[in-house]
Each structure stands twice: as structure tokens, then as C-alpha cells.
């Protein structure tokens, strides 16, 4: 059982994630993509007469069931398969982050940056609220996220997905190297 609670290596996780692509196709001709769930939730909860949200979201309910499953999977992994040891983080990353006022390296995410009271600080607000907004706005504008473009799109050899994936990475590098050094110190 010990192998279950230890962190899983990339060569186990990657292929398992990749297998989601044929699993969804073979199950019901569904193409893998998670950010669409955000659109369906908007269409279901607050369409507000916006044409982009005027469609039969119930037909896409498989996607909502899927993300509900991801949430439940997170609960199961958090409750029963939790790694008892602190995370092993690359020492270079750890040192750079310490220099930027990040000090909690125990969990999967830094507890001193992401917590309820941090929401009221400039740093917390930007990382949690502005960051979340950019994820939702950006993925929809791009027509997909890491799953829809990087995994599904590249698997199907779609060059627009390669363009999107490169832009995801460029955006991430720019924010990490030029944005976070200021934002984390706020």
C-alpha cells in the first residue's frame, strides 16, 4: 500500500492522464476538455441573455459529471491516499520562493499565500482572484486549456492547439520570471 500514498512518478501519471483521451472517445465519442465545464456552469447558472451561453448545456452534462468526479477524486486522494511526508520540492525553486516571501512548503500549495485571510491582502487577491479570473477568461478565449488543447488537441495533431500550448507556456514563463518576483513580495 505504501506505493499508493507516495507521490506517483510522471511515467505513471502521464500515460494514465493520456488514457483519458481514448476512454472518453470510446465511451461516448466525447472529446477531452475541462475548461468547457466552466462555460456549461455559466450557461446553466447565469446565462443572462448572452448568446455565448444560449445553448442546451444539458446535452453536455457528461462534462459536468466528469469534473464532479475530479472533485470527488481529489477528496478520495486527500482523505485516503495522502502523502504523510512533506512535499519534496526542487531546492532551486524552494530557495527562489523563500527569497520571495513564501515560507510554507508543507502542503501541495503554499498555505501562507493561499488561505482565506490572504484574500484580503494585495498579494493573495492577485494570486487567487485575479489569477482565477485570467484562467477562466484566457482558457475560453483560447478555446481550451491544458486538457483540450495541450493533450486532446496535440494528440489529434491540431496545429492551432500547438500555437495555444506554446502561448500557455510563454504566458507562464513571463509571469513566473517577470511578474511573480514583484507580486509575491507585495
Amino acid at each position: 500500500m505504501e506505493w499508493l500514498t507516495r507521490p506517483w512518478p510522471w511515467y505513471v501519471a502521464g500515460p494514465l492522464i493520456g488514457l483519458t483521451v481514448p476512454a472518453l472517445l470510446l465511451l461516448g465519442n466525447k472529446t477531452f476538455g475541462i475548461s468547457s465545464s466552466l462555460r456549461h456552469l455559466c450557461a446553466a447558472c447565469l446565462p443572462a441573455g448572452i448568446p455565448f451561453f444560449q445553448y442546451d448545456w444539458k446535452k453536455e452534462s457528461w462534462n459536468l459529471v466528469f469534473v464532479a468526479g475530479v472533485l470527488v477524486g481529489g477528496i478520495i486522494a486527500g482523505l485516503f491516499l495522502k502523502n504523510p511526508a512533506p512535499m519534496v520540492i526542487a531546492s532551486a525553486t524552494k530557495e527562489s520562493l523563500q527569497a520571495l516571501n513564501v515560507h510554507d512548503f508543507q502542503g501541495l500549495i503554499p498555505g501562507d499565500v493561499f488561505n482565506w485571510s490572504a484574500l484580503l491582502t494585495v498579494r493573495g487577491f492577485i494570486l487567487i482572484v485575479v489569477g482565477g479570473f485570467l484562467v477562466g477568461f484566457g482558457t475560453r478565449w483560447a478555446g481550451g486549456c491544458t486538457s483540450g488543447h495541450a493533450i486532446m488537441g496535440l494528440s489529434n495533431l491540431q496545429w492551432p492547439s500547438l500555437v495555444a500550448t506554446i502561448c500557455f507556456m510563454v504566458g507562464g514563463f513571463v509571469m513566473t520570471w517577470f511578474g511573480l518576483p514583484y507580486l509575491l513580495k507585495l
Binding site: I50, V65, I76
Partner: protein, 157 residues
């Protein structure tokens, strides 16, 4: 495929295709659960792993994404090669991605958000599940972002 029987009595026992898929929705939930477990156990939902990736300090995320894409590619190739059908009997059709400028602008904006939150949409759900309750706010912000895109769509390139 319309049989003669159905042609004459269409109201008789012809199940609507939607009903069939509704019955099998639970299977998508099961795949989602497995996917969520992998997300947490391989620490893909970790803000630190995303930082390591963008700081080029670890191979982990590159290995995960690379081997996922490779597995997906081989699977799609085999599905096309053997004309595999879905369990529902449908022919498998993968819609092509059409290029639009949003893939560049939106892609960059998502990249910024990815580095800030350390999460793409999938991991957001898994982070909440694994007990990081404040991520509910990140998810609500992402929903607000998606909604705002929908509202502004006509003014964007």
C-alpha cells in the same frame, strides 16, 4: 439506420439517443474520479510543481504532459486506423480545432493565470476536493472570467 418497423411505428419503443447517454453518465464520473486521484497523487495540482516547471528546475511536469500527449497520440492514431466506434455505437469523430487569434491572446492570459494560481481548470476542482477550501474562490473567479469572456466576446479579436 431506420428499419421498416420503426418507419411505421416511430413512437413505439424508440429510445431517444440522449436518454441512452444519460444512463451512462455515471461512467464519466468514474473516469473523472480516477483522473482526480492521479492529479493529486502525481502532485500535478501542486502550485510548487507548476513553479518548478516554469523555473525549469524539475522534469516532472514535462514528463507528465509529454507522456500524456504521447499516449493520447497513439490512442487517437489507433482509433482512426481501426475506425473504432464508441460504446454507444456512434462513429468516433474528433472535431478539428480552427485557428483564431484568441488562441494567442487568450493563451497568454491563461498562461499568466496558470503561473499565478498554479492550476489549470482541472486541478482547481481536485485542489478543492483535496481540502484547500480557499480555491473555491479561485474557481468562482475563473467562472467570472469565463462569463466575462462570454459577455465581451463580440468586441474581442
Amino acid at each position: 439506420m431506420v428499419t421498416k418497423m420503426e418507419e411505421f411505428t416511430p413512437q413505439l419503443k424508440t429510445r431517444h439517443p440522449d436518454e441512452v447517454s444519460l444512463r451512462s453518465l455515471w461512467a464519466y464520473g468514474v473516469i473523472g474520479i480516477l483522473f482526480g486521484i492521479v492529479f493529486v497523487k502525481a502532485e500535478i495540482v501542486s502550485w510548487f510543481r507548476i513553479q518548478e516547471m516554469f523555473r525549469l528546475d524539475s522534469f516532472h511536469m514535462y514528463g507528465v504532459i509529454g507522456s500524456a500527449v504521447l499516449t493520447g497520440m497513439i490512442s487517437v492514431f489507433l482509433i482512426k486506423r481501426y475506425n473504432a466506434k464508441a460504446l454507444t455505437g456512434e462513429k468516433i469523430v474528433i472535431p478539428a480545432k480552427v485557428f483564431q487569434p484568441g488562441q494567442i491572446y487568450g493563451g497568454l492570459l491563461f498562461g499568466f493565470g496558470w503561473a499565478l494560481t498554479g492550476a489549470c481548470p482541472g486541478p482547481l476542482f481536485a485542489q478543492i476536493g483535496s481540502g484547500y477550501s480557499v480555491v473555491i474562490i479561485t474557481l468562482l473567479s475563473a467562472l467570472a472570467g469565463t462569463w466575462t469572456y462570454g459577455a465581451l466576446r463580440q468586441y474581442l479579436p
